[in-house]
Symmetry: C2
Subunit: 336 residues, 2 copies
C-alpha cells in the first residue's frame, strides 16, 4: 500500500526546481509559521550562551526526541518518529558531567536528563515514596542513595545555569528553534558543538495543503501524499554555523544500508561525524564515522558484562566525541 | 495534498464486499498478529475481575491514550492520535474514589492515575525533592500535604488490588487486548462498565501491505493509502458484551459536526451514552448524550471560578455516568 513514486509530481508542486525533489530550507521557513514561543526560546538561549561562554564553559546543543507532522490544522492526527528521547537525555547527562553546558532542545513530554530515571512505565513517582510513622513523606530506602547523588548533581547544574531545556512538538517548531539557536552558537566557531540526536521527520504536508478539521473516516480510505523535508543539515553546516563542530545521527533498520548512508551524509553535508546505529541494537552498539577518516568506522560495543550491569553506551559515545571535538578545536586554531 | 477519495479502491483490496468501505472485525483479527503479552494481560485481567467481583466491587474498563499505526514493520515512523491520556487518567481516579475497581488499558508512557500529577514538562521528579541538613532526601514542604493524601490513597488502592494497568502501543495491540478484556467482562452483564476514552485510529495499513524497513526519503515523495479501521464498537456492543454498559467518546474540532456524529454513533452501535467534546474546549465543557433521551444533550460546563481553581471536569462526568449506570442496572433487573 505504501508507494514511493518519484514520478508523481503534483501540478501545484512546491518543488523549487523541476529536477530537485525537495523545497529548499528558505522556502520552508517562508511557508510555515514559527512557534508562538520562538522569541522566548531565542532570548533565553542567547542569555544562556552568553553567561556560559563568559565563564569559559563549552556549550553543546543536544536535540532529542521525535518531531511530529500534523495531518490537520486543528490537529487530531499526526505522523510521528519513533523516539522516547532516551539517547538524547542520557547523552545530555554525560555532557554535563564532562563540564559542558547543555541546551537540551527536546520533544515535549519526552525523557529529560536525570528525571528520566524516575518516570518509567514500571515505576511511577508514587512508587518511590512512603509515609513514615511520623506521618511525613519519605523515599523508600532502596532508592535513597542514588537519589541523593542525582539531586545534588541536578541542583548544582540548575543553580549554575548549565542546563536550558526548550521544547518542541512539531517538525516546524523544531526547525525554527534549531535555526535560531544555531545562529546564536555560530559566533563560538569551533567551540560550538551540535549533537543532533532528534528523530526528525523526512516527510511533511505543507501548511497550505493541510485540511482545517479532523479528517472524517466516514468518507472512505485515506490517501496522503507527503513532500520531502528539506535537508537542513546542509544550510546548518554550510551557512548558519560553518565553523562549528557538528555530529548527526543515522538510524536504520536495514544493516546493509547503514554505513553507506552515514558516509553519504558526511559527503553531502560536510560535517564532522555521524553516529550510526541500527534500531534493534542501538542500546548496545554504535559506529562513529568521521569525515576525516573515510576508511574506517569506529565501533563502540558494550560487553555482555556491561549490558548485564546496565552500563549506558552514551558515556563512551560522549567521551569519544569530546576527544574528537578537542582535536577539531586545536586544528581550527592551528589552521587559522 | 490530503485527498479522501472514495473512488480509489485498490485492485487487491481487503474490502470485505464491494459496497462496504472497511473490513469487518473478524477479518482484522485474522490478518494481524496479537501482542506478545496478550496471554499475560488476559490472565491478569481474569484474576483481577474475579477477585473484585467476589468482593462485590463494580469493575470498569477505562481505555486511555492514543493508538499508533506503524508505517513500517521495523517501525521508525507511525501515525498517532493526539492524546496525552489526561482524560482517561483523571477519570480512573474518580472511578476509584467512587468505589469502582479499574482496569486501566492505556498507551505506554501516557499519563497514569495519581502519578500524572507529578510528571509534567514544567516539574520533574527531582523538582519535588531536596536534601535535608541531615543528608536525607525530603519532599519540598509545599508539596507534602497533597502528596501524603495521594500516597495514602494510591497505596490503599494498590494493596486492595483495585487497579490493574495493562499497556498498548499500536492499534493492533489495543484491539486484541480490548476484545479479550471485553470477553472477560461479559459475564458481569449490566454491571460491567466500559469507559472507552482511548483515541483510536480510524485508518491503518494492513500488515501484509507494510514495507519491511525504514522508508527511504531519497526516493522522493511519500504516498500512503490507508484503509479504514473496522468499527469495533459494533461487535463489542452487539456480540462481545451485549448486556454491558458502554460509554464511548467523540472528539471533533468542528462544533457543527459534534452532536450529529455522537447521535449517529448511538444509532449505529446501540450503546448507552457518548461523551462528546471539542478539541480546544475539552477540559471545560462536554456533553453527555444518552441513547434513551435522544431529544437533549446534557451539558457539563465548568464555571469561570472552577476553571480558575483547577477543578477537573472528569469528577462531574464520572458522577453523572455512575448515576446513569445505576439506573441501567436497575432497568436491566426489572426487565429480566
Amino acid at each position: 500500500m505504501i508507494s514511493q513514486n518519484q514520478n508523481v509530481i503534483q501540478s501545484d508542486s512546491l518543488l523549487s526546481s523541476p529536477s530537485s525533489k525537495a523545497i529548499d530550507a528558505d522556502s520552508y521557513f517562508k511557508k510555515n509559521t514559527p512557534p508562538s514561543n520562538l522569541n522566548e526560546i531565542t532570548a533565553k538561549s542567547a542569555e544562556f550562551i552568553a553567561t556560559n561562554t563568559k565563564l569559559g564553559r563549552p556549550v553543546v546543543l543536544v536535540t532529542s526526541g521525535g518531531t511530529t507532522v500534523p495531518l490537520e490544522n486543528n490537529t487530531v492526527r499526526f505522523v510521528d518518529n519513533f523516539s522516547a528521547g532516551t539517547r538524547g537525555a542520557i547523552s545530555a547527562e554525560f555532557f554535563l558531567k564532562s563540564g559542558y553546558s547543555v541546551i537540551f532542545l527536546h520533544r515535549k513530554h519526552s525523557l529529560q536528563p536525570f528525571n528520566r530515571k524516575y518516570a518509567t512505565p514500571e515505576l511511577g513517582f508514587l512508587d518511590f515514596l512512603f509515609i513514615s510513622q511520623e506521618g511525613t513523606v519519605k523515599i523508600k530506602p532502596q532508592y535513597e542513595e542514588s537519589l541523593i547523588h542525582d539531586i545534588a548533581l541536578f541542583n548544582d547544574i540548575i543553580s549554575q545555569n548549565r542546563l536550558y531545556m526548550p521544547t518542541f512538538i512539531t517538525l516546524s517548531d523544531y526547525l525554527f528553534s534549531l535555526r535560531e539557536i544555531t545562529n546564536l552558537l555560530n559566533p563560538l566557531g569551533p567551540n560550538a558543538f551540535f549533537y543532533l540526536a532528534a528523530a526528525v521527520s523526512d516527510f511533511f504536508i505543507p501548511a497550505d495543503k493541510m485540511v482545517e478539521h479532523k479528517i472524517q473516516s466516514s468518507e472512505g480510505e485515506l490517501s496522503l501524499t507527503m513532500n520531502q523535508v528539506p535537508k537542513f543539515l546542509k544550510p546548518l553546516v554550510n551557512s548558519w554555523a560553518p565553523n562549528s563542530f557538528v555530529v548527526s545521527f543515522k538510524l536504520e533498520t536495514d544493516p546493509n544500508l547503514l554505513e553507506a548512508k552515514a558516509r553519504l551524509s558526511l559527503e553531502k553535508y560536510g560535517h564532522q561525524a555521524v553516529v550510526a546505529n541500527i534500531l534493534h541494537t542501538r542500546k548496545n552498539v554504535v559506529w562513529i564515522i568521521k569525515r576525516d577518516s573515510m576508511d574506517k568506522a569506529e565501533e563502540i560495543r558494550l560487553s555482555d558484562e556491561e549490558i548485564k550491569n546496565h552500563v549506558e553506551i552514551e558515556q563512551y559515545i560522549i567521551k569519544k566525541l569530546i576527544k574528537i571535538h578537542n582535536s577539531f578545536i586545536q586544528n581550527s586554531k592551528s589552521s587559522s
